[in-house]
Symmetry: none
């Protein structure tokens, strides 16, 4: 048990953590400003002005994180204790229960030619309308010794969970990561996975037969074989009753991993999303909201500087709505940087603001931007330590020692 965990005390304070995915950026070569610095963000600037700012290092210097480790760090789960596979994130994201001995897998539909060579790793980004019934067909495959739960995620992606005796997730991906070659066999990385690998091979052969006549989605690849890491929940570790308002399944999966409730919502705008946060918080059933906003990351990955600026501005305009959840502590940051110049996740630190009117030592930073936050009162901290500050500012940590 960590020092922080040992100091937890209960309280009735309310906390909102807003994660703007891929928030950090790099300066545009023309105007010299990052996406966040360029965006008009009067409401975030006001929070920065009233709160304290800084920057977080997602995992460690130089390391570009995937969404799983980056969010778990924000939630205070130390990276060295956890190895979360993509399979478990996808399975949890669509709500499949995963027992401690089950194996979770992420699947992709792909397109192969008559020789089995992959010509499209995403099956032409097949539509949900076509993919959903295909997943149902795959669900009818029976393999002796396996109980299989398979569900559609979106487009070409599905999640599956294998249950049975003596299963192991120590199996290589079958996705070769590029076209022009055959899918790989599911290969056991250790002898204890031999049995599972051969059952999976059998299932893949059956899947090939089921899909044979399809135009695009005529084969599958499997990735991220993983077990449930059985993390302690927010409730157990922090005495927090937490919920998640996220549009994308994977982030719901991460939230479920740490025991958050998933609040369904159908809206698309930040304002609609934040309205759900507010409504849920005001039921008084919960005291911690994890709010995930995705479009900033997607625009960054598309290399679209202007779209990322607009996505940030859209979040900013809806901030007053989010504040109607009346948090005692509000944190705004990103899980990692996704500079549109790089069109990918990156290792650069991410600006953070912590707003807690009763307890922050204000730092006179009045604009929420990468270079402004550099001189903020939080300094440069590791993402995994952010929860400790949140817990402190929400009056949920006892004094250490006499």
């Amino acid at each position: 048990m960590s020092l922080i965990d040992s100091l937890i005390k209960s309280n009735n304070t309310k906390i909102v953590m807003l994660v703007i995915d891929g928030l950090g950026g790099l300066p545009d070569h023309i105007n010299g400003k990052t996406e966040l610095e360029q965006a008009a963000t009067p409401h975030l600037d006001k929070l920065a002005n009233e709160g304290v700012t800084g920057q977080i290092v997602p995992i460690q210097l130089g390391v570009t994180p995937g969404s799983g480790p980056a969010h778990l760090a924000l939630f205070g789960y130390d990276r060295f204790c956890i190895s979360i596979g993509r399979g478990i994130l996808e399975a949890y994201g669509v709500g499949i229960q995963v027992g401690t001995k089950d194996v979770a897998i992420r699947g992709n539909f792909c397109t192969v030619d008559k020789n089995g060579i992959i010509i499209d790793r995403r099956a032409g980004r097949v539509s949900d309308e076509i993919a959903i019934p295909l997943v149902q067909l795959l669900g009818e495959i029976k393999i002796s010794g396996l109980d299989i739960d398979i569900r559609h995620v979106n487009q070409y992606r599905f999640a599956m969970v294998l249950r049975g005796e003596g299963l192991s997730a120590d199996i290589n991906d079958t996705d070769p990561q590029h076209t022009g070659v055959c899918a790989l066999n599911p290969e056991a990385r250790s002898s204890r996975a031999n049995k599972t690998a051969s059952l999976v091979q059998e299932w893949i052969s059956e899947a090939g037969k089921v899909l044979r006549e399809q135009e695009n989605a005529n084969m599958v690849t499997l990735r991220g074989f993983s077990h449930n890491p059985c993390l302690d929940t927010f409730s157990k570790r922090y005495q927090l009753s937490a919920y998640c308002v996220a549009a994308y399944p994977m982030y719901r999966g991460i939230a479920r991993l740490v025991g958050m409730e998933i609040i369904q919502f159908d809206g698309v705008t930040p304002s609609e999303q934040f309205h759900i946060v507010e409504k849920t918080m005001n039921t008084n059933e919960y005291d911690f909201a994890f709010v995930h906003f995705k479009q900033t990351d997607s625009s960054g990955e598309d290399g679209d500087y202007v779209a990322k600026v607009r996505a940030i501005e859209a979040v900013d305009q809806a901030i007053p709505r989010l504040m109607q959840a009346q948090p005692d502590v509000m944190v705004v940051t990103g899980d990692h940087s996704t500079p549109s110049r790089m069109q990918s996740h990156s290792w650069h630190p991410v600006p953070v603001l912590l707003w807690a009117p009763d307890t922050v030592r204000e730092d006179h930073i009045n604009q929420f931007g990468e270079r402004q936050c550099l001189s903020g009162g939080l300094g440069t901290i590791e993402a995994k330590d952010l929860m400790s500050l949140i817990l402190a500012h929400s009056g949920r940590l006892r004094k250490y020692g006499a």
Copy 2:
């Protein structure tokens, strides 16, 4: 294996690490500026302006490092895994092979009076002309059970490597570190070193006989008994093909320890040195250059503020030559501080600049100086994490996790 090591991918980017030995300083009492702040450094300032700056803590707060640990930290080798003796650094520096069971030792000529009392620990800084034939004479000493390789380093310094059965380096220095007392006996710190200690004692007696008639160099002291720590090389850890351009043997020794190739050069000016860096990089056989510049440290140790300023300016003037090596990533820093006011190494942080046009988040620092770099975008980091940033900026780290 560290997280960083597990994320390495290959690339064809080129990296230059320029280590200006003892770079960090303290403000002069008269003008209030450190040596680096005082020096005219237009080229380093330009790199700082285009890049990102910060300061590094060599080992940990308050710790004054020797050159060995300080450089290994810069190379990303965690201090807790390694204990490098001075003997191994000297032996590697002059190119003696050291096997895993051999014992490497640094030797000094000294002057003793007729009672064996040390009156000069450096034998009047005896010249190479006198010392080289004396080392040859010492090389003729035969001790049963020992195969001895001994070579001159410079002035009063030599390196020796013992080979044989059941040798141990767990032996105290014989150098008492001050004059007016006899040299110490080589004392075994554990019973497994008893045999080696007595063989070394025997050798020292023979050396005393050989040198008896010399005016200055009439005795020896031995220090830094050490084994080869067998570090993983740059090639193995980072997939980097690295070379070293350093004038001083010890820095070549450190570079060899981590598997760098040593490029010979006879020049004395930074411009000549940097020309070799450029020529070597342009062969395309290498992708990492470790460039070591010594005079800053020597001037600092001499307490010569003006000489240290001039040494920094000499490096600066040659920077355009170094940039002709066309690095994708260029790092300039020191291994530690050597303030001329203190006339010694110190624990103070060292300014660092990282130049990598494609990926840095510029921080508007436009002068390379201790106090300027304090507000730089890298913040204050540990030296051992610098390689992670270099690897990230050179596109040599994969994403961590799903």
